[in-house]
Symmetry: C2
Subunit: 552 residues, 2 copies
């Protein structure tokens, strides 16, 4: 059969280490700023591969990370998949039970954990769920006190050869894995094959994607545990550009400092990050943004005011939309050819704030309640379906979810959208009831189940309401059982949820109602609740600062 | 098994027709300038698919074109592969026997032929070799007198539905085919799978490839029978950009007119084309190049003087290298990050005139005579080996060539190269003795065999010598048998070759020698002959203008 070689990540690494051996990788770590070149990166990646091989890990094994954005985490990005193994990035902001489920479901052989996240991992640790894990590695040169045996990353890779005779890996081999939190039940695993990551890398490198040139300096603030930091560690390497990693829990001043000192040209993150930078600068801190060209915003909708604010600094906001199931980039809100001349500035901002134009290589359709495709008129809406070479066609070991969330080779995104005459997709509602706070998912259904487990609660619904800083926050509507004191019930629930879930899952408000409104088919009508709540004032400051997911 | 959908060309067409329905496709044809939009393009492509289906053609069938660059040829570019069939572009400049061999070897089911090339095809036609061909279609709305039945393209597609329910096509399905002329024996077929063309399209869209944005206006002057016009019809569509096709035998004034009137921003062709434009402008014809941003030069090395000349007009020459076996782009001579500041202008030109930096996704190595990899020092040389997702791993039905030209999954390019410290590849010699005149291959071995078939010739060698206009021209060295009159032999050979081969294959000179110099292993040492000839003056004007391959 004719054809070229398989599409794998290894040649991207090969090209960077050979053509751009002097280009830098800069990393803010627990120990300070680290700085080295692709040459050293390649050496250390080979050492990591030797260490894993010696520890009995290789093709087909799932190896997890529990880390922020830094050079060691980046070393696992090529070191693990290029060995034929599978890089499984775990979101450390999840509830403990989710982490337990994920580790057990993925049967991870090893976990690489940050020192600052070791306590969180230790809290989630239980011997049964973590039974598959043979090796814990702490990202640094020492190991804190932990309920499991661990080695330091530097001792793990130290002393190994700096060349590795990489195996030939099939393009269908899973290379990555990430879990997505849905509305119901346990998180769902999405596997990324070598081919999916290859296609996503190429597509995001094009001008129609995110666009990366070899003289760019790329800083993903979006966590590397979030769908491979939108693929930027791969695309930046394939382009031979300089990497900057902002390390654990970066504060606005950390981000500002790296932007300035490293000459970052492209950065990426959720809106909350940029609101933080905006507030920092508005508080009188001067930040030189003259090198910065592009801020990629995703994870939640880019507010128009934010696009305008960056425009004033000559920084272009590129709004992108995607999903864990899509590796993740699906659409990018570039201004199409011609529109810059045709439209007023306000009209341009309106387009740029939409979810955008589908990336070359993907297809979509929008299906209404009757199963028909809706016209592209900016008004009619329906559920967005997508498919393509980097869109998964199944969840890992979840037949019932596969039945619900896929139709043939189409992924049903759960987003309700309009498409305008120019082809810009805009999310207008969410079919699946999840809440997105600061770029992180909160399962409304899981909170409802927890609340309804309380004997004094008859019915409950949790909805996401708009929030200036976190884009969306959960609010609980409860129907207490007859005779129960609503305030006492709310206090009980606050305590109970605070114990069982990350503190940023705690609803901002518990509102007593007589009955949860229902749809014609008897389902909870959250749309009505959201609209009802929109008329009330949300008390700003109710969410404690430290409850913010990106500052946990 | 996890994974996304197969990588096929169809979603590129879908995206252009839906997101860029109003964007233009402009075509210089035998009947004048045609102009329509992606919307109409999509309609006509569907009509073509219906016509082919009705004629009994579909998945797996090879369908040939024998055409210049115009909108109808472009319609076959998506209409044929998206049906699951295989677009086989035949080079009409080849000798008749090669065309016969190619049609028979590929077993083409149909041939689409330009009116201006119908006579050439009729000359090559013989019922045996063309036995597989059920349908001839002439590109226009009428049919000239031909030795075979034919229909006009417009009557072939006319009246059919403008929507087609495209089949699901496997990414391993061959989508394209092109023959390459080697040094020995018959042309060799290279098949392009859907996945190869998908990967090539994505890679060439990146800034590290050729780079295409949706506001570009792209005019491939490189013929569409030359490895899909370097993939530009695909990448331009995937980007949603405007296409301009310069039609049959474009003269410098045609090219100049289209550049100006259509606002072309990116164009591409062999050096001879740009020499023609240069001469045209130097003869006093004013051409406005202010819209033109990039001239992609490939097929033969880009002369430094040409890069400098375009620089004066603010037009950037992008020198690219590739092969039929590589879909075809392999390397592009972009100036790397940092080098613009580090190097003098002359040093920059020197880099930009090299074959360049390998495109992301591919790998290469350079192997010396002892089988060792040579260091990247700009001095040591060896044969260039390449591999990657859009580099073929075999020739069509040619086991003996596969044995010679591949080693594992590496393609042995036959080019002898150096690689400098920055990774720029430079071709310094050709291991396979082919001659490249005006971007077209001439087989030295085939000419030698033809010459040695003459009873008055004892030994002969044909070599390529540098030529200002055509980059290279063939010169024959002959050893007449004892007693033969060298001048009479040369005259006989001229007549004989003129009859059997295209006139531009005729050697510029027949030089009598006593013996062909041999290498240590007894092979003809063409290197010595080339050096010997370099001391002589090549008589300019010896090649008649009309013998030029791109004006035939």
């Amino acid at each position: 059969m004719p054809g070229g070689t398989d599409q794998t990540l290894r040649p991207f690494l090969w090209r960077a280490e050979n053509l751009y051996s002097d280009t830098e990788i800069v990393s803010r770590t627990h120990e300070g700023i680290e700085r080295y070149t692709y040459e050293e990166y390649s050496d250390r990646t080979a050492q990591l591969a030797h260490a894993l091989t010696d520890a009995g890990m290789g093709e087909g094994d799932r190896i997890a990370t529990f880390c922020w954005n830094h050079h060691r985490h980046f070393e696992t990005y090529f070191g693990i998949p290029t060995l034929g193994a599978q890089l499984h990035t775990i979101n450390p902001l999840l509830p403990d039970e989710h982490i337990q489920f994920i580790v057990e479901n993925a049967a991870d052989k090893a976990i690489f954990v940050d020192p600052s996240l070791a306590e969180k991992l230790a809290g989630a640790y239980d011997a049964d769920s973590f039974d598959s894990v043979d090796q814990f590695v702490v990202m640094g040169d020492s190991v804190p006190d932990l309920p499991f045996d661990a080695v330091s990353y530097e001792s793990f890779i130290g002393g190994h050869e700096t060349e590795y005779d990489w195996p030939v890996v099939d393009q269908d081999q899973p290379a990555g894995m990430c879990y997505t939190s849905g509305t119901t039940g346990k998180p769902k695993g999405v596997e990324y094959t070598q081919q999916m990551l290859w296609g996503h890398t190429m597509a995001t490198m094009t001008p129609q994607g995110l666009g990366v040139e070899d003289d760019d300096v790329v800083m993903p603030v979006v966590p590397m545990f979030h769908v491979n930091a939108w693929g930027m560690p791969f695309s930046t390497t394939a382009a031979g550009a300089k990497h900057v990693y902002p390390g654990p829990s970066p504060e606005p001043e950390d981000i500002a400092q790296l932007l300035e000192e490293e000459g970052v040209t492209i950065t990426a993150g959720v809106p909350t990050v940029w609101l933080g930078l905006q507030e920092y600068m508005q508080a009188g801190n001067e930040v030189d943004l003259s090198e910065l060209e592009t801020v990629i915003i995703g994870g939640s909708a880019a507010p128009k005011a934010m696009i305008e604010w960056f425009d004033e600094y000559g920084v272009s906001v590129t709004h992108a939309w995607g999903m864990t199931e899509m590796s993740p980039i699906g659409s990018v809100a570039h201004l199409k050819s011609g529109l810059a001349e045709e439209l007023t500035y306000d009209e341009q901002i309106e387009r740029r704030a939409k979810q955008g134009l589908i990336v070359p290589g993907l297809e979509f359709k929008v299906i209404d309640d009757d199963g028909n495709e809706v016209p592209w008129n900016g008004e009619d809406f329906g559920e967005l379906y997508v498919r393509g070479p980097w869109v998964t066609q199944e969840y890992f070991q979840r037949p019932e979810a596969n039945e619900n969330d896929f139709e043939g080779n189409w992924l049903k995104t759960g987003d309700v959208v309009t498409v305008d005459e120019d082809g810009y997709i805009k999310i207008v509602d969410r079919a699946k009831d999840v809440i997105k706070s600061g770029g992180e998912w909160i399962s409304s259904v899981e909170l409802e189940n927890a609340i309804m487990a309380n004997d004094n609660v008859a019915e409950a619904a949790v909805v996401g309401v708009p929030h200036e800083r976190w884009q969306e926050r959960p609010v609980a509507f409860i129907v207490p059982v007859e005779g129960a004191d609503p305030d006492a019930v709310a206090d009980e629930l606050r305590e109970q949820i605070s114990e069982d879930y990350p503190k940023w899952w705690l609803p901002d408000d518990f509102i007593q109602i007589d009955e949860v409104p229902k749809t014609a088919t008897g389902k909870f009508s959250k749309k009505d609740l959201r609209e009802e709540y929109a008329d009330q004032d949300l008390v700003e400051g109710q969410v404690p600062e430290e409850a913010a997911p990106d500052e946990e």
